[in-house]
Amino acid sequence: MTDWTRICALADIPPLGARVVESAREGRIAVFRNAVDQVFAVRDKCPHKAGPLSQGIVHGNTVTCPLHSWKIQLENGEVVAPDVGCVKPYPVKVEGGDVLLQL
């Protein structure tokens, strides 16, 4: 684990939206913001058919994949039943209006 990296300001992510972060080592990571300004980060690849989760609709702490509507819980990357699977989550936090990601 490396240190926390500043990604962007919280204001750079729309509420109930996401941004894509590209890391040389980890590939694409989706960073989400919910309606109450909490942030979450998971690999930007749906476990179903690799859809870009960052492009999905965010509701509660869940995102619906834009390709085939699988639902993924953002806190832990677990897929909502009855579908099964999981996607890698990353530690992320907001500090002083900045979004920090641990890679």
Binding site: V21, E22, A24, K49, P52, I57, H59, G60, P82
Partner: protein, 820 residues
Amino acid sequence: MRKLKLVMVGNGMAGVRTLEELRKIAPDMYDITVFGAEPHPNYNRILLSPVLAGEMTIQDIILNDLQWYADNGITLHLGARVTRIDRHNRSVIATDRNGETVTANYDRLLIATGSTPFMPPFPGRDLPGVISYRDIKDTDEMIDAAARYRHAVVIGAGLLGLEAANGLALRGMAVTVVHNSGWIMERQLDRTAGKMLQAELEKKGMQFKMNAQTAELVAGESGRVAAVKFKDGDSISADLVCVAAGIRPNVELAEKAGIHCNRGIVVNDTLQTYDPRIYAVGECANHRGTAYGLVAPLFEQAKVCANHLAEMGIGRYQGSVTSTKLKVTGIDVFSAGDFSGTDGAEDIVLHDPGLGIYKRIVLKNDRLVGAVLYGDTKDGAWYFQLLKDEQDIHDIRDHLVFGNAHLGDVGHKGNNVAASMPDSAEVCGCNGVCKGSIVKAIQEHGLFSLEDVRKHTKASSSCGSCTGLVEQILASTVGGAYQPADSNNKAVCGCTDHSHGEVRKAIREHKLLSVVEAQQHLGWKTPNGCATCRPALNYYCLSSWPHEAIDDPQSRFINERAHANIQKDGTYSVVPRMWGGLTTPTELRAIADAAEKYKVPTVKVTGGQRIDLLGVKKEDLPQMWSDLARAGMVSGHAYGKSLRTVKTCVGSEHCRFGTQRSMDLGVKLEKMLYGMWSPHKVKLAVSGCPRNCAESGIKDVGVIGVDSGYELYVGGNGGIKTEVAQFFVKVQNDDEVMEYGGAFIQLYREEGFYLERTCHYIERVGMEHIRKQVLGDAACRKALYEKLLFALQDYKDPWAAIFEDKSGGSHKRDFEIIKV
């Protein structure tokens, strides 16, 4: 806070369903205690027939195992007979299986005691070997008798009696069915269908004795029943007599407690008895004079009752229309509604004795009021839906009796009797789900609704074209327990109980201007809705309050947010608009340049007469749009629930057959409708003569030029199931095409449910309604047209908006990747 105490008497399907619904909406409100007289947890009583027939086992039909009760913290007393309800002290007194007295106090009491079989008072009814058919114990006794004895007599040829007879016959007994009326299942079938069914059952080896009055049951030497004697002096031998002469609501307990009963425990629309602390659901309850014996209405009651117990109080049970299906493998019988032939009713009958098919549908005032199907029941669900929705069938009357074979059977033509499909047959082509997996999921998880099946199997959850087929499989697997949802009142999604119609009405009446406002006003159950309801709400706000509602990009599907179509690999496709399918060398040059500059791997001509650039990276989109916008091109909205294209033929401008200037009119229509959001995508076409080269017959609005003007067609669809557009009106000139076509589209925008194409919208509301609004009332038509033009004025091309946004603020946020 102290938890309230809820006690339930009865442990059957209706009661436990109520608890399940209650746990969903108010999981911590009650401490729950359940008394069940049978020693089993809740099981699917409807499937006792397949158990008797040897097609399933008891284990297969358990709906909630003991672990479920434990997991939900429910105190369960099995084999416990409730002896008294003490309303004064609000307690229930029972004797448990060890003979000890158990008392439970309640704040709310739910009576779900079901029904008891009716045993006519003939002598010998108490003899060993005489049973009714109600529970696992009866089933076991029949299975046991079938192994040891030869002759069985079933008294009563209703649904239950015939299923019992079929099961006993399959287990090797010689079965005679005795019935006191002229034909079997006379409550559900008319004479013809009843006779056909009887002949079919006789072929399977069953014997029938009709118009027979049982005099007494006679004991043999062993003391066990040996014969049935009739009033006409006849007698037949019987080692087992199964009495299926109807059921009676089990009200004894309630009556003793002084609760008002009248052929059932009388309940109001919130399932409360005359003592408001006490509720009753299921077969024991009498709601508006009806005690339901089928499971589907009971589930509706359960939902409302749970809602009221949770003190939400927004649901009302207003009665159900029921349908019947006989669960005898290999025989298809369906009936629904009233077919007794009352005043003003008309019959449409199709009868082919050779093929063993009989269909009778009963109409009254252009509405379907009853249906009896024998031999071919695949359209049962469709007829039932028409009946429940009270839909005007005037326009489809001529082919009504032939069914709705086009409904959801694409790819399965000629093989659409769900029951006869092999388990390996693919039902859902989108998600690769075969019939076997659906049946397995229905049985293993105890599913009853289309929604449940979608969740567990994904079948019918993508394009929806197999919905009809999935419904048929559901119906044939769970039998009478399946009730299609009322299409007008279906909840938008799991986030709310409100239907599309109710949501739109509230948005219009209370001037709700945003998704969040609508959710708050309507008491959404989830904090921000979901991917199903948010786009719908956003559309309803925007279409109800143009220029005032606040568009929420986060409530739009990615395609509408990114103004491009997402592809399977996460890249996008870009389609510049070509008005009426026309383009210029300059535009083509700009497209070619953009394709090269952004390394577009695939360039394709679309079905809507324009060019698709596939495989564009999202981060390249804004720059590419800028390039195209500079050449004067705008977004083609090939991605949206919006106007797509207006396809044209060359028309009289060039064509030697052309009668009208179709390209001209196409461009005009497309410019008028540019930027229009709608419930689903909208496609138009203009052909310059009846040769119809622009394929106007399969468009939402199709225009065909004739020498004297234009013919307008509406509701066509070339997609999932090809639907030919219906003739709408003949008009004189271009302006009238715009006005009539525009008014139709605006009506659809105002009344269509989100994601409902025009053909489905028309099917739901009826063509007559649309004709009345657009053709019958000129003022109404003009008002609709005005509203459309008002909604569309000042539309800003999304490409230009980003191109001109020099600050780069918002679009940067949406399109730029952050590199670390």
